[in-house]
Amino acid sequence: MTQEIPPLHRRSAAASRAALIDYGKFFLFAGLTVWLLTLGTHGLGYNWQWYRIPRFLFTTEGGVWAAGPLLQGLLVTLEISALSLLCTLILGLTAALFRLSDSFTARALARGYLELIRNTPLLIQIFFVYFVISPVLDISAFSSAVLALSLFEGAYAAEILRAGIVSIHRGQWEAAHSLGLSTFDTYRDVILPQAIRRVLPPLAGQGISLIKDSSLVSTIAIYDLTMQGQKIVSETFLAFEIWFTIAAIYLVMTFGLSFAVRALEHRMNGFPIRGARGIA
């Protein structure tokens, strides 16, 4: 037994040395980036005025706290993203089930939707919904934004969900059917809980895309985070500071979503993905 310790010990020493080298590389790279950035801005003669940024986030005049334009924009972005995410999931699930249905009409409908949405640019879709559909349906710019984003992301979510559903072993369907469960019950109780658990990581990726894509709604006069940024920059010329700040806010949002999904994944870890076939 004691003979096994030296090689193990050596391996752990090697591992910590490798970790040290990794840290070294990371800080070297980070330092180099900062140095290049300062060099670049120095060369431009850019006058950094970070002290002017906080008041665009919030003001505390007379002890009263008030949200600045950037936080107001953030709120709009969050509202649009949250609503669109919900609609995306509903739309995506519907389209996925339609594509897998026995009905020719449902399959054709889903197929048409997916091809149409995935082969045209999102910006054009947003314009189309805002300028063509919204006057017909008499809906606001905000609703148009949510509709366009949901339609777009829903098509991708549908394909992710479909992949998850077809990845579930046929035996699960057969077991459910042999118990007399209807197709609806089989999806709800047997197939979807397993399928969604499997595709949670790519689904989260789609959610993150949605948050980022929501910046495009600034083109239809919605004062989201990006639009507020454009407005402030055009008034103050604080281009570097504002866009850095806005990028950081988006980063916090997407990290937040990733984190939430990872926590959800951990909670759903009651069974391993590999055991999902029911074969010992």
Binding site: G171, H177, D185, Q194, F271, G275, A276, G278, I279
Partner: protein, 247 residues
């Protein structure tokens, strides 16, 4: 036996798979209530396909199947009705991996039989006692041995109070030392008078629990007989050759 006692009647059923393999070729078999029929035969003889046709997992090309007086046809309602009366145990268990043992057994009672949670829970506990795994009620399938998983699968099928149980090579995926515990449960079911159609390679079980043995090859019946007569004195040359190989 009067015809009233027939619970499963398969008439001239034919099933071919894409690619031209004929799994069942004008296959007819009538099974009486309370009978244990064991189907044996070489692999690819259509045994499993026959079982899967009996609860509509495979659609037959021609012929007719009647179970407990309900025709298994294109009507979705009839299909669901038959599936509620016919339990099936698979070679690969097919337990629902995201549900505990208890939830696996509760599901169909609540969703299909519309039982209250309390009623389902009580029936589930009784079934777990019956198959001998009460201590694993709150475990997930992957935490159980193969034999335990298969016993849970049997309990899950029994939870629907089926009139017929189909066993599709229920012990073939098990380690040798776990086969006994599953056969034990199947034997006690047979002793209780459950109508069973069993596809198996376990000749010991066939001899002991089977009322009738069906020997199949190429989608057709080669020989059917009462268990004792079948093993002691098979009438077909092909049956003798097959039994000679496996016994």
């Amino acid at each position: 036996m009067s015809t009233n006692d027939v619970i499963i009647e398969a008439m001239e059923i034919t099933k071919a798979f894409p690619g031209g393999v004929v799994a069942l070729d004008r296959f007819s078999l009538a099974i009486r209530r309370g009978e244990v029929v064991v189907i044996i035969g070489p692999s690819g003889s259509g045994k499993t396909t026959f079982l899967r046709c009996l609860n509509g997992l495979e659609e037959i090309d021609s012929g007719s199947i009647m179970i407990n007086g309900i025709p298994l046809d294109h009507h979705r309602k009839n299909r669901l009705l038959i599936r509620q009366e016919v339990g099936m145990v698979f070679q690969s268990f097919n337990l629902f991996p995201h549900m505990t043992v208890r939830e696996n057994i509760n599901l169909a009672q609540i969703r299909v039989r519309k039982k209250s949670r309390a009623d389902a829970a009580e029936a589930t506990m009784n079934l777990l006692v019956k198959v001998g795994i009460t201590e694993k009620a709150d475990r997930y399938p992957h935490e159980l041995s193969g034999g335990q998983q298969q016993r849970v699968a049997i309990a899950r099928a029994l939870a629907m109070n089926p009139k017929v149980m189909l066993f599709d090579e229920a012990t073939s995926a098990l380690d040798p030392e776990m086969i006994g515990e599953v056969l034990e449960v199947m034997r006690s079911l047979a002793a209780e008078g459950m109508t069973m159609v069993v596809v198996t390679h376990e000749m010991g079980f066939a001899r002991e629990a089977g009322d009738r043995i069906v020997f199949m090859e190429n989608g057709r019946i080669v020989e059917v007989g009462e268990t004792e007569r079948f093993f002691a004195n098979p009438s077909e040359e092909r049956t003798r050759a097959f039994l000679g190989q496996i016994l």
